[in-house]
């Protein structure tokens, strides 16, 4: 009855499972150390020292923070909807991690004579998949905020929902212009095209700019962190959360930053392409490892940018946020799409 189970390529299964474990672990570790980087960079910008006690240069600080969160008392409000209260942070984390499945993390590796692509799934609809997962990310916040049964939480959740819906439109339209140029939705193919020619930032500077702003809004980062604006809403959507559930919400934000940096690098900055190096002259394994390193370096530059902006630009007011989204970014994105179309028409691309 279940003989088809024997036909599954066991090596493929193991290969993919190992890859998934590595990538999820990587996302977590990077998220942990982004929190550390955030505190150190913030300290540097404000002319302080920042956390430097735990371990050399304070590099054990994220572990100490994690242990602290785990051992904090867990409080679930009495009038909250218990199942949804627990589901909220879980969903936030799940959807943050899901997008990592289609990102090409590097070129191929050769292990025991098998060519292993460093991408979990090279699907036909890569970009749309990322877009879909990003659009689902708001449920974690909305469900958690509603289940908390607290007015401040609810306000935070509603703000998150309307903000993400508004900025998703401009994000989608700026991606359409990029798709018109690449002619494919496969992320790996987009990277290969950029490896052969110029990076997409050369063709789509305005599109990248719009995408960058929307990525800040989708990650709820300052200057768009109105869902958790602490001086109006106490803690916003995570007011009622404590212990590791709060930790999941905070970590999910950093995982989101990591993934959206990875997507931006893949789409606009050549992905795992090593600049000024012809990869075909290197052996497969060396090229594979170097490409992953190049990708990580590009991502960390973006992560630094995220942190830099947070400690430089103050938070928007809510009406300013909406005006920027609807009256500036969407018309700009539409103009960018039309201009790209006209350029392609006249140059017969």
């Amino acid at each position: 009855m279940f003989h088809y189970l024997l036909n599954i390529d066991a090596f493929l299964l193991i290969e993919k499972l190992v890859l998934i474990a590595i990538i999820v672990g990587l996302c977590m570790v990077v998220a942990m150390y982004t929190t550390f980087a955030e505190r150190r960079v913030a300290a540097f910008i404000q002319d302080r020292l920042g956390p430097n006690r735990a371990g050399p240069f304070g590099i054990l600080q994220p572990l100490a923070d994690g242990v602290k969160l785990f051992f904090k008392e867990e409080i679930i409000p009495n009038f909250s909807s218990h199942f949804l209260f627990i589901l909220g942070p879980g969903l936030a984390m799940t959807f943050a991690l899901l997008a990592s499945a289609v990102i090409p993390w590097g070129s191929n590796l050769e292990i025991f004579g098998r060519t292993v692509p460093l991408q979990i799934a090279d699907v036909n609809i890569g970009i749309l998949y990322v877009f879909g997962v990003v659009s689902m990310g708001v449920y974690g916040i909305m469900i958690g905020s509603w289940a908390s049964n607290n007015k401040y939480s609810l306000m935070g959740g509603l703000r998150a929902a309307s903000q993400i819906i508004s900025y998703e439109l401009a994000l989608g339209i700026s991606l359409i212009a990029l798709l018109m140029i690449t002619g494919t939705l496969r992320l790996n193919e987009i990277v290969l095209q950029q490896q052969a020619g110029y990076w997409n930032i050369v063709y789509q500077p305005l599109g990248f700019f719009i995408y960058l702003i929307c990525a800040f809004a989708e990650c709820n980062r300052t200057p768009f962190d109105l869902p958790e604006a602490e001086n109006e809403l106490i803690g916003g959507y995570h007011t009622e959360y404590s212990s590791m559930k709060l930790g999941f919400y905070l970590f999910a934000e950093y995982v989101n930053m990591f993934i959206s940096s990875a997507v931006m690098v893949t789409l606009f900055f050549g992905g795992y392409d090593i600049p000024f190096v012809d990869e075909s002259t290197l052996s497969t394994n060396v090229a594979g490892i170097l490409s992953v390193l190049a990708f990580m370096i590009k991502i960390s530059l973006f992560l630094f940018f995220f942190i830099w902006v947070r400690w430089t630009v103050p938070r928007f007011r809510y009406d300013q946020l909406m005006r920027l989204g609807w009256k500036t970014l969407i018309p700009l994105a539409l103009f960018n799409m039309l201009a790209t179309g006209a350029w392609m028409l006249f140059t017969n691309k």
């Binding site: 279940f2 609809i125 749309l128 659009s135 689902m136 929902a161 998703e168």
Partner: protein, 168 residues
Amino acid sequence: MQITTLLFLLLSIMAVGAALMVLFSKNPVHSILWLIVVFFAISGHYLLLNAQFLAVVNIIVYAGAIMVLFLFVVMMMNLNQEDIEPVKNYRLQILGVLSGGVMLLIIVLAVMRLQETQPVQLKVGDAGLITNLGKTLFNNYVLPFEISSVLFLSAIMGAVIIGRREED
């Protein structure tokens, strides 16, 4: 038993079960969350038919945008089970049953016409892939496509006019 049949059964049970939960949930927020589960199950069905584009667009548009707005409105209005009066209008109920029955009849007839014995096969059929879908849409059906987009535009304009504050 093929793996596709197994998946088909699982997804169908998930879809129908979640759809029933939409109806029987007392709390409107729970109903909406069950409806999101229904959309995921339906996207799973599209994936089984190798219609990846349709599957992911279903998630983006319905689960990702429309349901967020539903949830937004229900949360903002703070609709709780005790505030809502059940619909007691029998004429409406009879009409609902009738129109639902007609819908079911049409679907059953359409399925019987197909005479398909193996409805899902893994990795077979390419009608749902984005290239083929785009080419069909813009070659054979360009007029209906454009007309429906004009329809959407007029709906958006209507919403803007209704939502606009009176200026005086």
